[in-house]
Each structure stands twice: as C-alpha cells, then as structure tokens.
C-alpha cells in the first residue's frame, strides 16, 4: 500500500538521530514558551528562524519548528490547568474546567487527561494528513492562477471572520498587511516600491521582524502595566491516573473533539483556537450534566484539548499541499522552506518526499515525546511559572533582538522592529487584531502575482474569477462566510465565544 510505504519513508527520516534530537528540542522549547506567559509560538519561531539557516537538511528545520508549534499548545494547557492562566490562546477554554479540577485536588488527572487526549488527537490527525494530503495535492495541480487568487481571498476572509472584534477593522488590517507586503522591489517590473528612498527597504520587510515587533515587543510593553496575580497551586501534584468514570466520560469527548478539530483545522484561518471553543460548546450542549461544566467536568478538558491539538496539526494540510499558509505560524514554516530553496506547493510531496513524510511522521513522534516528557516534568514547569515577569521580559527582548540581527547579520532588522512595536501597541489599544495583518502581509506579493497572471490569461477580463467553477466556488464561500458572520444572531454568538479571551 502506498500510504504505508510513504509512512515508512517518513519514519526513516523522522527516526534519524539528528531529527529525533531536534524534534525533542522543538517540543521542549515549545512547551517552555507555552508555559511562560508573554511569549507565544509566533514570536519564538520568528526568533529561531535564522538558526535553521545553518541546518543542512530542511526537514530537520521544519521538524523542529513544527515541534515548537504543537509543543506550545501543550504547554499552554499546563498553565491553564495549574494557574488558571492560558499560556496560549487556544487553551483559554481549558482554564474553565481544568483549573476547577485542579482546585478539587484532581490536577494530576486533568493534566493526564489533557496529555492523553492531545496524544490521541495528534495520532489521528497524523494519519489524516497522511491519507488526505496526496489527493488534495492532486486537486491543487488543477489550480490555475484564478483559483489560487480566489483561494487566498477565501483564506484572508476566514482570518477576518476568526479575528475578534469589529469585522470591518479586521478587514482593514488585512488590507494594511497586503499594502505592507507591497513594500520592496516589484518582481515583474523591477521597480522599487514605497521604499521612501531607503535602500534596505528595497528587499521588502522581513516577516519575522513584523511578528517580533507586533507580537513580542508590543506585548511586553502592554504587560508591564499588568500586575501579576497568579493563583499558583500549592499542594504537590500526585495521582495522574484517570479512574473508570473519567475514561467513560472523557474518552468519547476526546473522540468528538478530535473529529471536530481535524475538520476545522483544515479551514483557512481556522486551527486550534476555533476548534477548542467549538468543542467546549458542543460538549456542554450534549452533556447530560451541563451544570457540572465550569465546576471541573472532565469532558470540558478532554474535548477541547483533543480539538486544539487536532486542529493545530491539520492546519498543516493546506500549507503542505497548496503551499498557502492558513495561519501566521504556517507562514513562518513556508519561510523556512524557502530559505532552503524549496518552493512550497503541491509538488513538494514528489520533489521532496523525505521532507514531506518525515515532517508528518515527526509530528506523531513529537506528540509521543510530549506525553513522555510532560508528565514527569510537571514539577519543573511549576517552578518555571514562579519566575517573575521582570526577569522574563528583558530576556525575551534580548533574544528577539539577536534573532532579528541574525536574519541578515545586520542591525537594520533590529531597528525595524521598533516601528512595528509601536504599531502593535496602538493596535492593541484600539482593538485592531494583528493576526489578519500578518496573513495579508504574507499573501500580498503572491496575490498580486496570481491576480496579474489570471488577468493576463483572460486578457483583462475580470469575469475569469467567476467563470471558472472552482474559483467561483471559493469566492462564493468567502462571501458566504462574510454574510454569515454579519447576521445578527451569529454575530452575538461570535462575540460571546470571544468574550472569554484576554482583553
């Protein structure tokens, strides 16, 4: 069977000593930043991107970066359970019941449930990627420029829909991102655009610089004013074993969460956050004991944890098969590929099979490592949580600066983080979400290129986007999404779903 042969090829890559080591480093680092407040996977991957320049094998680089990503989801739930602080936005819902379980002396069980549910979801999602990526790549080969353009429109609209707050402002952020992406040399005419006469800008702005400024530095400035009130668990965590009742209630919830997360993860802009929120809502709705939710119901941990992990993994599918990032983290993965001269897209599977399948198998390996790693290291993570923020932020600042410097071995990129930090600070103040901006920035140049090609082929006829059925369907979906969120009923629900998040 093809699938098995492919997985075997992947295993041969993932199980080399080097790759195992970097997978381990990735998930360890990921868990660490997931546990630590104030730094997320995006800023970390941006910071570490230059390190991957040095790696001889691009698979190793991607394996490590992917490990950071799903490791951070995992670390985020640890803090959610232990200190009622979501380390990562996807673990917000885990605070609801996970922390309550911990307060009732069941911290160990909650942690084990989160670990096992995530592992289960990760395993299933790995197989899903392996099974569905090849046929999807086949479809991708049929894509012309018009389809690619429409797909990107859909992705951007999805990012808008999933941002919290005003939809119009989120749309504005996308367009702003697209415009920022225009800065630099136009590939077609060679014209340097919007450079203000600064030669450094003719290469465009580094994505990592924007991510560090907006997500790293702006966050730090904002956190300075926040006084920390951490409700740290005093007693030692013991007894990890869920009992029979826990299995009976948590098991099915984890399965439902996995199914939901896998599905939502594939959607552009979807992924972990949406998955965990919807899973929690569903579990509460179908439960026979809805009154127990918020008081330590195990379903409220198992479902969302499975869902966010499954979603985090299946969001790799569009990136791997279409070469289109659906989240800012995926954009960094693509950047890592391009550094190693791999053009992302449906051909990666055939041109770099060891990379493709190696990455997939490594995700499963990484999930296994997380289970093995996390439970014994809980004590260490609790210790880390006690590190005060006044020690953390100068360290984060320094590592970001070094990361920015090493992008091109030039201080220009360090200095460029400053305007983006200022922008990020005011965006936060004015409730403008930076995530859609990043999506726009990544896709800007590509979108222009595909628009140009599509219209050249059609001799300037804009109807090409609706004449081609696949393209029309993608655009229709985008319009539908916008209409749906604009409906008063959904709008209210959406506001409720996001109201639980940080503010």
């Amino acid at each position: 069977m093809d699938l098995l042969a492919n997985l075997a090829l992947g295993a041969a890559t993932a199980f080399t000593l080097d790759n195992l080591f970097y997978c381990f480093i990735g998930v360890l680092l990921g868990t660490l930043i997931g546990v630590l407040p104030g730094i997320g996977p995006l800023a970390t991957i941006a910071m570490l991107l230059p390190i991957t320049y040095k790696m001889a094998d691009p698979s190793t680089a991607l394996i490590m970066l992917a490990g950071i990503y799903y490791g951070s989801q995992y670390g985020g739930s640890t803090t959610a359970i232990l200190v009622n602080l979501p380390g990562e936005s996807a673990s917000v819902v885990t605070t609801l019941d996970g922390y309550q379980m911990a307060r009732r002396g069941r911290a160990g069980v909650a942690l084990a449930t989160a670990a096992l549910a995530s592992f289960f979801a990760g395993t299933v999602a790995t197989f899903l990627i392996a099974a569905f990526a090849p046929p999807l790549a086949e479809v991708a080969f049929k894509f012309g420029p018009a389809e690619y353009f429409s797909l990107m429109v859909l992705g951007l609209i999805a990012a808008v829909v999933l941002a919290h707050g005003s939809i119009i402002k989120a749309l504005g952020m996308v367009v702003l991102g697209l415009l920022l992406g225009m800065i630099g040399t136009d590939v077609n005419s060679g014209t340097a655009r919007f450079t203000l006469g600064i030669p450094e800008l003719s290469d465009g702005i580094e994505f990592a610089v924007i991510a560090m400024g907006m997500f790293g530095f702006a966050e730090i400035i904002y956190n300075l004013k926040q006084t920390e009130a951490r409700d740290l668990l005093k007693e030692k965590v013991t007894n990890y074993m869920p009992n029979k009742e826990d299995w009976r209630r948590g098991g099915p919830a984890a399965i439902r969460g996995t199914a939901l997360g896998s599905l939502l993860g594939i959607l552009p802009g979807g992924g972990a956050i949406l998955s965990s929120f919807s899973s929690y809502a569903i579990e509460k709705k179908i439960s026979k004991r809805p009154d127990q939710f918020g008081k330590g119901a195990i379903e409220g941990v198992a479902g969302p944890e499975a869902a966010n992990n499954a979603g985090a993994q299946t969001s790799f599918i569009p990136m791997l098969t279409l070469g289109i990032p659906t989240t800012p983290v995926m954009a960094l993965m693509i950047a890592a590929m391009m550094i190693h001269n791999i053009q992302p897209g449906p051909q990666v599977m055939t041109s770099n099979p060891t990379l493709f399948w190696g990455l997939i198998v490594s995700m499963w390996v990484g999930n296994l490592l997380l289970v093995i790693l996390n439970l014994p290291l809980i004590g260490l993570w609790i210790k880390l949580l006690q590190v005060p923020y006044r020690f953390l932020y100068p360290a984060i600042l320094l590592f970001c600066c070094i990361g920015a410097y090493s992008l091109n071995n030039n201080v220009w990129d360090v200095l460029m983080t400053i305007p983006f930090a200022i922008m990020g600070y005011y965006f936060k103040k004015w409730h403008c979400e930076p995530a859609p901006l990043l999506m726009g920035f990544i896709l800007g140049e590509l979108m222009e290129e595909y628009l140009r090609r599509a219209l050249t082929i059609s001799r300037g006829n804009w109807s090409v986007f609706i004449d081609r059925p696949l393209s029309a369907a993608l655009l229709a979906t985008a319009v539908l999404l916008l209409i749906i969120v604009a409906l008063p009923f959904i709008r209210k629900k959406r506001d409720e779903a996001f109201s639980g998040e940080d503010d």
């Binding site: 225009m182 400035i221 006044r390 100068p394 320094l398 201080v411 930090a421 600070y425 219209l455």
Partner: protein, 153 residues
Amino acid sequence: MKIQNRRDFNAGLMFLGIGLFFGVYSMDYSLGTATRMGPGYFPLMLAVIMGVLGLIVLVMSFMPADAQEPPGPTDWRGVGLILLSVLLFGLLLPFTGFLIAVLALVFLAAVASDESNMKETALLAIGLLIMGVGVFGYGLELQFPVLPPIFTR
C-alpha cells in the same frame, strides 16, 4: 457630533491616512491595464479599499450604537524605555560589541518595570550575557563582535 468610540475613531483615521499615503505614492508608478498590470495597479487598488474601510470605521465611530469607553492613556515610560533599549542595542552592537549592547538593553529595559531592582538586574544581565555568547556566539556562530573593538586590538 460626538465621538462615541475613540478606539474606532483612531483606527479609522489611521486606515484613512495609510490609504491616502499608499494611494498617492502609487501614482508614482505606472498603472498599466488589467491585462498588463504596472507596478502601481494592485497597490492603488488596495489603497482605495483601505481608504474606504477607514472612512466606514470613522463614520461608525460617531454612531451611538457603537459607544465604548475610550482606551487608556499611552504608557510613555514603557513604550519609551523598551523601544529605546532596542534602539540602543541596535546602534551599539556594531560599534561597541555584544557585551555593552546587552548591558544597555537589559538595564534600560529593567527601568521600565516598577518591580525590578539593581542587584537582580545585574545578575540577570550577567546570566543573559553568558547565555547569549554561549548559545548564539559559539553554538550558532552568529557574527557579532563580543568585546568592544579597543580590547581586541
């Protein structure tokens, strides 16, 4: 007319300004036609959309239905000190080397917080220096001078 939502008002103004900036700047480049797009075509299109969105947000901010409390004041000390520390790091690194750049960054950044004190910050700076030189300098062979150039000559 009274501004009901200061956040939206500011955001709308910003969008509008950015739209205008890019729109006017795009005129410098040849637009071309849809069939043969020039370098100004797509950016101008985006700038127009940006401006329109900015206008909508701006107008909405006067609607009583969108009323919201205004955002808190800018934390000038935090913004200033943190960004100054980054600026100094960037400016110092090529001239004085890693050591002094790190000290400048860590100490300036620490002043931004009410909770930090000199002794702890000094220890933190030493720790970060060792880590920085070890991991980034030797481990990853990043290219930057560690000591001020005077000492290496």
